[in-house]
Amino acid sequence: MLKKKKREGADINGSSMADIAFLLLIFFLVTTTINVDTGIGMVLPPPLDPEQEPPPIRERNLMKILVNSQGLVLMDEEPVSVSEVKDKLIEFISNPENNVELAISPDAAIVSLKTQRETPYSIYIDMLDEVMAAYKDLRDAASRANYGVPYDALVDDSPQQDQIREMYPKKISIAEPDS
């Protein structure tokens, strides 16, 4: 008589599943980069209509910053070093002594940044950084005076922030290089 072999219950050993899962987990942990993009935000102006005249700007409200390819800086035809730019800009924008040479009011001030085609990008960004730093200092000071907290601590798009932004609008013009 043929006796049927008794089968044992087929069990898959699941104890190593955790190990496999851990291995995969560690792989994804290592490869994941939770990186945040940082940078200087700007808004480009709409393209210029060639027939339309650019709006008139009073000379005293315009701060012309020229940067050449060696990183030398001219501010309103006056050579300055990069480290002086920020303080000069703050003086120009806020104009505490009502100098007739400087901006009438902070919201009328326009900063024009012009470089050469050969200027390295890092020099251009350094200059833009200085301009941004000047505006940040001014906004922080205004925010502290009015609300007792720095500008960054204000709620985004709150009326308070809008007010500070209106006091010191960032009017930065990136001029096209000649040649």
Partner: protein
């Protein structure tokens, strides 16, 4: 000689580990979902410059990247400055206008992040910016690293 018998605990004390794979799998799925495996293969050399007054881009979905830098040539050599959008190098700068316009239609709140090598010249950047103006993508961001204070 007296035999000492170790006293054994009456009941077995074991931590049930049957739920461990579930926990680990949960973590695994989280990291699998958050990992972005497909990064753009850069065809240009990119060495970002540093700045201190920078802002974060919170909504990454809105961002579209334009890369600029010296082209990577076979044999570890660097060529002229080129513009790369998505996975391809754009030789004809006039094409940027249409490319970016299409992206703007898809995502009206588009932010263009310009990732430019620190040694590339401003001239190329201004040409690209002119194209962006024509395309109507006005919100840009000069991507920089945070400067150590």
């Amino acid at each position: 000689m007296a035999n000492f018998k170790k006293k054994q605990a009456g009941s077995k004390q074991e931590i049930p580990t049957s739920a461990m794979p579930d926990v680990v799998f949960m973590l695994l799925f989280f990291f699998m979902v958050t990992t972005v495996l497909r990064e753009v293969t850069l065809k240009v050399k990119l060495d970002l410059t540093q700045a201190s007054n920078i802002e974060k881009i919170e909504q990454k979905r809105l961002v579209s990247y334009i890369y600029m830098g010296p082209e990577r040539l076979p044999g570890n050599q660097l060529g002229d400055d080129k513009v790369q959008i998505d996975d391809a190098i754009v030789d004809d700068l006039g094409a940027i206008r249409n490319l970016m316009y299409d992206k703007l239609i898809e995502e009206p709140r588009l932010i263009v992040s310009l990732r430019v090598d620190q040694n590339s010249e401003f001239g190329l950047l201004t040409d690209v910016q002119k194209e962006l103006q024509q395309a109507g993508t006005f919100r840009i961001n000069y991507s920089t690293k945070r400067e150590a204070d």
